[in-house]
């Protein structure tokens, strides 16, 4: 259970997020959806203390996070972001083992976990000895996922995790992650600006604009006629795109038949 209670964050006098309150029950997959400058990343980072709120309180399972040193708090949560940030001087295996090492696991337990994790994120075992520079973008993000999951966190925080990947890889990885979320009973908070991604992956979508929450509901409820015009516009975009794609495909189908007719 993650709770944000009236949190506020400003950078040099310019408000970035809040005041806002949000409650995320254990096991939920929440997407925070918004454009750039909407305060979605600031909100995410307030959960693991990378950003400390100016006012208000964050609680994990009822305990205020201010009482725990930031680095200990972060060791209990997985964190994945667009640039991945794999340590370039460590092999894939060493990258994944960082979390368990920080948590003081035995080498045997860590080695076992490494095997499990590579399987979990669908990477071949021999990749463990490679350096990050030798991997493709999709493989790198899978390693990033494995690294974040390594110390068995209950909460996963993800900031545009699939943003830099090509659409096919992105779709596959998103689906794979959703499955992991179920299988490991995770609580996931994912920041994204991609409406379709939020709709297809999340149980619940929090729409943010100018640091405030504009809407907070299930994908289904948001797709139904929402009272907020900006939310309606946002939800209309993927539909309109889908209609245009359908139309294009139909047109192309008509074109394609013609040469057949002549031939």
């Amino acid at each position: 259970m993650i709770e944000l209670l009236g949190v506020v964050k400003a950078y040099g006098g310019a408000p970035a997020a809040g005041p806002l309150s949000l409650s995320i029950p254990a096991g939920t997959f929440v997407a925070i959806l918004g454009g750039s400058g909407s305060g979605k990343t600031t909100t995410l980072k307030m959960i693991n203390g990378l950003v400390v709120p100016d006012a208000g309180e964050v609680r994990i399972d009822g305990a205020p996070t201010g009482a725990t040193p930031g680095h200990l708090l972060r060791r209990r949560m997985g964190y994945v972001f667009q640039e991945v940030g794999l340590f370039p001087h460590m092999t894939v295996g060493e990258n994944i083992a960082v979390g368990p090492r920080l948590a003081g696991w035995t080498p045997e337990r860590t080695a076992q976990r490494l095997t499990t994790l590579l399987e979990l994120v669908a990477l071949p075992a021999e990749l463990a000895a490679r350096l990050p520079a030798e991997l493709s973008g999709g493989q790198r993000q899978r390693v990033g996922l494995a690294r974040a999951l390594a110390a068995e966190p209950a909460i996963m925080l993800m900031d545009e995790p699939f943003g830099a990947l090509d659409p096919v890889v992105r779709e596959a990885l998103g689906r794979d992650y959703r499955a992991l979320h179920e299988r490991l009973s995770l609580t996931t908070v994912m920041v994204t600006h991609d409406v379709m991604e939020a709709l297809l992956l999340a149980d619940r979508i929090v729409v943010m604009q100018s640091g405030a929450i504009l809407a907070d509901d299930t994908p289904g409820a948001l797709l139904a006629d929402h009272p907020e015009p900006d939310v309606r516009a946002l939800m209309e975009t993927p539909r309109a795109q889908a209609r245009r794609v359908e139309a294009l495909a139909a047109e192309r189908g008509a074109d394609a038949r013609e040469p057949d007719g002549r031939g």
Binding site: H71, L73, R74, R75, G85, L86, F87, P88, G99, L102
Partner: protein, 520 residues
């Protein structure tokens, strides 16, 4: 040629080991200070600016001046420590050289350290933070390993600079490969100069290549390269330093010398006599003429030869000229009373400052004495050694004869004679015991008004050795034993272009003449 090369090669183990020891200590110390400072500077803007500015400022000071500045600083500190804690430490030699070179090595390490650490990909830093690393864990597990190649590049630059600048430690009394260069320059022994340059450059290049191996190993994450470079450096350092271990205890006696041929020869002569008496002796040559007396008074060297007029004017600050004998008596009492320094006695010749001209030129201008010179000076150029123009003797000559030259130019003593021969200078501040006066057919202009004080060469002994029977017995026989023609001949054998002798050879010839004289 072969002789000079062999003589230079014999000195290599000593010079190289001292040079490597000094550079290694300076670099290690520099690294130990700069690296934590670089970490602090990469964390905080408030540290970064002053640290980088300070290190850059040090770099703008000419390295020779930086080395020279540490001598008076340490001398003052040593004085304070004697007053407060009752002990002194050497202000000459290793300590000032180490401090100056340490400062000198800091900029590249600091600059590259800051660049390396702040240049780490922000995404990697965010990942380290996001995973729950503490600041220290992030530094040692992520930032330093990633910055290592950049930091090593800085260490390489620092190593090359330090090894090069360590040659300048010679004038503050620290033996280094610079001894070849400074002594060679004075005696026009170009073989020695070249030998020193090649040795220093070779050392710098080898270290640079081995550190380069470490750097590329770190960059490409090839541990064997890092190890190969590190082992190469360790073996090289051990080999270079091995002569230091072999010699065991430090030499019992240290003989000082200023930076010209006569001084080298006399230092060798004194050292030879002490060694003949079974003592271990080290020579510290190329000391500055102001620092050498202070080094003796502080017992950092045990004996050297100075000149009565120099001591009279520069050490006692006297401007009068009571005559040769009175000056000697006055000096003996004043130095003993003030500093506990023993004036053992005069060697028997003067090495006076004298204004000299080419004989043909003097005749043509009709100049026969300083009085005549005053009338012609406004059209003439005076060439002097580096210190003459700032000495009281010059002020005295200048005011007593009302000399006004067209131009004043300072040279290294060797080049001063060249300038006179080439006509670039018309008059020079010559030394009366210099062999080149006869050889170059110069005339020394008489000083009818006694503006220049006497310059008897005298042996000075440090307070610590004031009652050392072996030292006194070894040096006493030199008192009154060397006349000006013997000294001129010895000096000329070292200074001439053809059939040059090393100072040690000239000292041996001089010692031979003394034995013959004693035998008669």
């Amino acid at each position: 040629m072969d002789d000079r090369f062999a003589a230079a090669a014999r000195l290599l183990p000593d010079y190289l080991s001292q040079h490597v020891l000094l550079s290694l200590c300076a670099l290690t110390l520099g690294l130990a200070i700069s690296l934590p400072l670089a970490v602090a500077a990469s964390r905080s803007q408030a540290v970064r600016w002053p640290a980088l500015f300070g290190a850059s400022l040090v770099q703008t000071i000419p390295s020779l001046a930086l080395l020279a500045l540490f001598y008076p600083l340490l001398l003052a500190l040593s004085g304070l420590s004697r007053a407060w804690f009752g002990f002194t430490f050497p202000a000459l030699g290793f300590a000032p050289s180490l401090m100056a070179l340490t400062l000198y090595s800091m900029l590249p390490i600091l600059r590259n350290g800051v660049a390396g650490i702040t240049g780490v990909d922000p995404a990697v830093i965010e990942a380290a933070n996001g995973m729950g690393m503490t600041g220290t864990q992030r530094l040692f597990q992520v930032e330093l390993p990633l910055a290592a190649p950049v930091i090593m590049a800085g260490v390489r630059t620092a190593a090359v600079w330090t090894i090069g600048a360590a040659t300048l430690a010679t004038p503050v009394g620290q033996t280094s490969l610079g001894n070849y260069i400074f002594s060679g320059l004075q005696t026009e022994n170009w073989v020695a100069v070249l030998f020193g340059c090649v040795a220093a450059a070779g050392l710098a290049l080898s270290v640079d290549q081995l550190l380069g191996l470490v750097e590329s190993g770190l960059a490409a994450r090839r541990p064997w390269r890092v190890w190969a470079g590190a082992v190469g450096l360790a073996v090289g350092a051990a080999l270079a330093l091995s002569p230091l271990i072999g010699t065991g205890a430090a030499p019992a006696y240290r003989i000082g010398a200023k930076n010209f041929s006569e001084q080298y020869i006399l230092a060798q002569l004194m050292a030879g006599r002490l060694e003949g008496a079974g003592a271990r002796v080290a020579i510290r040559d190329d000391l500055g003429s102001a620092t050498i007396y202070r080094a003796l008074a502080a017992s950092e060297i045990d004996a050297y030869v100075d000149y009565s007029g120099t001591l009279w004017a520069n050490v006692l600050g006297r401007t009068d000229n009571p005559g040769r004998a009175q000056v000697l008596v006055g000096l003996k009492q004043a130095l003993a009373r003030r500093d506990g320094v023993v004036l053992l006695g005069p060697l028997g010749f003067e090495n006076a400052y004298a204004l000299a001209m080419r004989a043909d030129r003097a005749r043509a201008l009709g100049v026969a004495s300083l009085d005549d010179l005053a009338a012609k000076a406004s059209g003439l150029v005076l060439g002097s050694d580096l210190e003459f123009l700032s000495r009281p003797e010059w002020k005295s000559v200048e005011s007593i004869y009302a000399l006004k030259f067209r131009r004043l130019v300072s040279y290294q003593p060797t080049f001063m004679y060249r300038a006179l021969a080439d006509g670039e200078a018309d008059v020079i501040s010559a030394f009366s015991s210099d062999g080149r006066i006869e050889a170059d057919r110069l005339v020394v202009l008489p000083d009818p008004r006694h503006a220049l004080p006497p310059y008897d060469a005298v042996i000075l002994v440090s307070p610590r050795r004031a009652h050392d029977a072996r030292l006194l017995a070894a040096l006493k026989p030199l008192v009154g034993a060397i006349d000006v023609s013997a000294m001129r001949a010895a000096n000329y054998s070292v200074d001439r272009d053809q059939d040059k002798r090393t100072p040690a050879q000239a000292a041996a010839v001089l010692a031979g003449r003394l034995r013959v004289a004693a035998g008669r």
